[in-house]
């Protein structure tokens, strides 16, 4: 496993990317005793426009908290996909929501599409598309163990059992579909 992972979660405002990023970071920090940073970039005009969160996970202290070279990019919207597809290197992977990203381009990086939003709708709540995606990322990259993320979900929704259950299911769904590839 690499010593340092640089992950970008991208999409549009309102998709819960920060919340999702913080699950990853919490899992890394609290349950795997790693270092992690999370930064987000947003403007006043973000409602519905491009947003991203940079997550860095490392065994050592992290200095510059922005992603310099992407290892994993998640794109939950076409604008987000378009921004990264030409940019990222061949050793990176790009995962996108095939329910929303419809115009696919060639890229140096490997890319994988999953219908996260459709799957989320099946689970009864499209807001968990991000967590399904998270499951997929974990499965594919191995950056974190499933337990860590499950524990992070449990901590986060301690007082809201229903939300916890939904998110757990979403994570499992992500792990499941990524296993299929």
């Amino acid at each position: 496993m690499k010593d340092k992972y640089q992950i970008v979660l991208s999409g549009v405002g309102g998709q819960g990317l920060i919340a999702c990023g913080s699950l990853v970071a919490e899992a890394a920090i609290i349950y795997e005793d790693k270092y992690a940073t999370l930064t987000s970039s947003y403007g006043v005009e973000t409602r519905g426009t491009f947003t991203k969160s940079d997550i860095i996970i490392s065994g050592k202290e992290i200095f510059y908290p922005e992603v310099i070279k992407e290892d994993i990019v998640l794109s939950l919207a076409q604008v987000a996909y378009d921004r990264y597809i030409d940019k990222i290197d061949s050793d990176a992977i790009l995962i996108y929501d095939s329910s929303l990203v419809t115009q696919i381009k060639d890229s140096k990086a490997k890319q994988y599409g999953f219908p996260f939003t459709d799957l989320a709708r099946e689970l009864g709540n499209i807001t968990v598309a991000n967590v399904i995606a998270l499951g997929a990322i974990i499965k594919m990259s191995g950056i974190l163990s499933q337990e860590s993320v499950l524990n992070a979900i449990k901590d986060k929704y301690e007082e809201k059992p229903k939300v916890m259950e939904l998110n757990t299911k979403a994570l499992e769904k992500g792990l499941e579909i990524a296993a299929i590839i």
């Binding site: 913080s22 970071a25 940073t37 930064t39 403007g43 006043v44 510059y64 908290p65 310099i68």
Partner: protein, 383 residues
Amino acid sequence: MKGSNKVRFMQGNEAMAEGAFAAGARFYAGYPITPSSEIAEISARRLPQLGGVYVQMEDELGSMAAIIGASAAGKKSFTATSGPGFSLMQENLGVAVMAEVPCVIINVQRSGPSTGLATKPAQGDFMQSRWGTHGDHGIIVISPSTVEDCYYLMIKAFNFSEKYRTPVVFLADEIIGHLQERVVINDIDPEDIVTRELPSCDPEDYKPFEIGESGIAPLAYYGSEYIVRLTSSTHDESGYSNSKPENADKFIRHYTDKIEKNKKDITIVRKYNLEDADYAIITFGCTTRSALEAVEILKAEGKKVGILQLVTLWPFADDEVLEVCNQVKGVVVPELNLGQLIREVERVNKKNIPIVGVNKVNSLSIHPNEIIDKIREVEKCQR
């Protein structure tokens, strides 16, 4: 809170608020403003749990006034804002200086001037934090570069404030304020919390501005046996208006001297890789992280580049900066502004070594490579 001595994942703004509570702060008055609003929101939720008070004032002028009032009434007090609000606080910041009332003002800097770009980072208030209010005065300004700093340095900020009876500005920036990262929160030893010296004399003899042995006048609180007279006017030891030249001289100098003369105690700097460095980066706040990353990269190339991080921005660390300037062949000063800190470095630099800025005001952070480029430029200045 999950308890103490705990590893946590925290946001800078959250850590500032929790640091303040750990320092004993029990009063927050503020007016929301991006990118500092989380500090208000957390304070609104947490303070009543701690028996403290959160109040949203009608504006920043009132917020600054209210924390001064609350502090005089005996509660450690703070506020948080960003550029536009910080500008509005300047007049009453001067009251805290003149009446010598401890308090902490957090400024999470954003891109300016004026309304600017509310959600974007900058370090454009470095000079303002020192000179923003009118008239001669001293002030302590502290700047964090990690989320852990937000917590632990906040305690320092309150401690300095209480010890020196002075407002302390906690000059953060959007990057650190919104950054979330790993922190280890330790139990704070009560010994490490400083609370203002109370008077011990006979209440009849108490003078709220009589400078004691410590160099600072003990400060009683409203409602105590000691009658406290505080004022924004030039005053005598008892707190009465006084326009005698000797008196003005004494007190106006005191506001600066009590800070400058305790520089040793107040100055916090961090040195990385400086021992045998050929070049140095002098930096503060979020930019320190870019510098650290740059140094790591340069290290791999075999270059000897060190960092002097100013944690205490004001009083300015003349001695420490001079030492570095005397040691190295050139200095790079990266800042998210058009050159503020660099002016101070230039002032202190006696040997005329090249000092080059990396100045960025496009609302993005400084990429480590931008610093590396300047280091190479400075190298070329050497014949």
